[in-house]
């Protein structure tokens, strides 16, 4: 049997007395497109934060291609091939778009410790950063400052930064949030172009766009996995209608 790209086993996290996730277990196979859905407060982003190391779980296990992640700091998990985007944009607003991507590229290179050379002299990094921006359709805007760009452009930049790192597992936290219908379609198109050697887990509320992207869907409710299966199975399941799609 192939090792899953991500394996989450019995993950528990409490915020004070409030359980955010309860015995959450699921696994995602390499190359899979997985959608995680659930009402507000279901624990979707909490799971992302537990996988990336922004939060420490009370108990459980998270494995990336068979390797336990929980005893590693966030940056070490990133070096193993993990990348994520944030629901609430987390960018460097006073810097140019290209500089944002350069910081993403630097994160995986030993060059980031160099206090002596000129960063701008490293043409290979800037070329790679330009390529990542071009990939999301921001090639023309490389030298603009993030603070002067539109919300849709920033969403694309989030994606470019994650893709530039050539991750094995890409975690997208509501990549379509706040976008116009037209922009949604175009970001959706970008997601479709991501090669199959990248495994993708996505949290998304926009069912129309997200449903046909996902191969398998995990439904969370009150911190628990309620339903998991193929798109058709989950949509057909009565519990899905009950907790999420509404009557």
């Amino acid at each position: 049997m192939t090792t899953p790209a991500l394996e989450v086993i019995g993950l528990n996290k409490h915020f004070g007395g409030l359980p955010a996730t309860k015995e959450v277990s699921f696994h995602v196979m390499p190359g899979e497109r997985r959608l995680i859905i659930g009402p507000n407060g279901a624990g979707k982003t909490t799971i992302f934060n537990l996988v990336t190391g922004d939060l420490q779980p009370d108990s459980g296990s998270v494995k990336l291609f068979g390797q336990e992640l929980l005893d590693l700091p966030t940056q070490a998990r990133v070096h193993l091939g993990l990348a994520r985007t944030y629901q609430i944009l987390t960018l460097f607003p006073r810097e140019t778009l290209i500089h944002n991507v350069v910081l993403a590229l630097l994160g995986l290179k030993p060059l980031r410790w160099n206090p002596w050379t000129f960063l701008t002299g490293h043409n290979d990094i800037y070329a790679a950063a330009h390529a990542a921006l071009a990939q999301v359709g921001l090639g023309e805007s490389a030298d603009r400052v993030v603070a002067e760009t539109s919300y849709g452009e920033r969403r694309r930049l989030e994606l470019a930064m994650a893709l530039a790192q050539k991750p094995k597992l890409l975690m997208l936290d509501e990549p379509l949030a706040g976008l116009s219908p037209g922009e949604r379609q175009s970001v959706r198109g970008l997601l479709d172009q991501i090669p199959r050697d990248v495994t993708i887990i996505m949290i998304e509320h926009d069912m129309d766009t997200a449903l046909d992207f996902a191969e398998r869907i995990t439904l969370l409710h009150y911190g628990q996995v309620i339903v998991e299966g193929t798109r058709a199975e989950v949509v057909a399941d009565p519990r899905t209608r009950e907790v999420y799609l509404g009557d």
Partner: protein, 328 residues
């Protein structure tokens, strides 16, 4: 590098070299040396403050550790170079411990730990009579003779300081444009995101702390050479706070800001204080006014003002030219 900045750098360098001829008089040449020493202190603390967003109130601790070590070693009979090198290395290692302890806590906790450690060093200097001479301080036997040059008089000491300062500034300038410098600025703005991009935020901050400690220690050795004396007053909280204020007043986000801040505060302290008794009040007033009108400090503020004036002039020329344009 842009042509304008090359020209301004050349002018600044020429001016610094010419200072002894321009001003004359040992009193003012000595003051120029002091400005350079404090500028190095301010530049070193600004690595943490301006680039890394770490506010330290314990920077004068290096003056204690490096300064007393150097004095003790020279007094014990070691040669000047060995004493200076060991003092700087020891003080830099101390910065490593200082950094590990301070970085246990973010934000306000960080400031309080740096304050506490600064005060501990001050307390030891004050209390350990046998080691440091306590409140009476310790005098330094004599300035060294680097490569056989005599730097006892004001002019040659100024040039000695200028050379050390220029080397430091060159390194710090390269640092500010380097990949590490860019990563450091990133950790100031978005530490969480930087982690998620693969950067080790803690290590970046610690290495910056140590680097700031290193240049702070170098400045401390210059301070001892200049004053030929060190007492606990030199490492009191007031000293740490003044160094911090220099960086903030001049503009922590710019490379040259701390130098300007150091020059202004040192001059007020030394020159104005001979005329005005309440020079501390004046310093406070200047600080408050500067921060009200230029919240990012004088250098970024003046740059902004200059850009605004340029724009206005350009617009006015455009308006003036407009009627002479042929109309369709």
């Amino acid at each position: 590098m842009k042509r304008a900045s090359i020209i301004s750098l050349a002018i600044a360098a020429a001016a610094l070299v010419a200072v002894p001829w321009i001003i004359g008089g040992d009193f003012y040449i000595n003051m120029a040396s002091q400005v350079l020493i404090y500028a190095l202190f301010a530049l070193s603390i600004n690595l943490m403050l301006g680039y890394g967003g770490m506010v330290s109130l314990g920077h004068a601790a290096y003056l204690g550790v490096a300064g007393y070590t150097c004095i003790l070693l020279v007094t014990a009979g070691y040669n000047q170079l060995t004493a200076a090198v060991i003092a700087v290395l020891f003080s830099t290692a101390f910065a490593g411990v200082f950094g590990v302890l301070s970085l246990r806590a973010p934000g306000l906790g960080f400031i309080m730990i740096t304050l506490a450690i600064g005060q501990i060093v001050w307390g030891i200097a004050y209390r350990a009579n046998d080691l440091t001479g306590g409140d009476n301080g310790m005098s330094f036997p004599a300035r060294p003779m680097p490569f056989g040059f005599d730097i006892r008089d004001a002019k040659s000491f100024y040039y000695f300081t200028l050379i050390v300062f220029a080397i430091a500034f060159f390194f710090l300038w390269r640092f500010s444009r380097s990949p590490f410098g860019a990563s450091l600025v990133g950790t100031k703005d978005q530490p969480r995101r930087m982690r998620m991009l693969g950067h080790n935020v803690w290590l970046i901050q610690l290495l910056t702390f140590v680097l700031a400690g290193f240049w702070g220690s170098v400045a401390s050795i210059l301070y001892v050479y200049y004053n030929l004396f060190l007492s606990p007053h030199a490492l009191a909280l007031q000293q740490s706070a003044e160094i911090l204020l220099m960086a903030i007043l001049g503009g922590a986000t710019s490379l040259t800001g701390p130098i300007v801040g150091a020059a202004i505060i040192t001059l007020i302290k030394n020159v104005i204080s001979t005329y005005v008794e309440r020079w501390n009040t004046l310093l406070g007033a200047i600080f408050v006014i500067a921060i009200i009108f230029m919240p990012y400090g004088l250098v970024p503020g003046c740059k902004q003002l200059w850009g605004w004036l340029q724009n206005r002039r350009k617009n006015r020329t455009l308006q003036h030219d407009a009627p002479s344009e042929p109309t369709a």
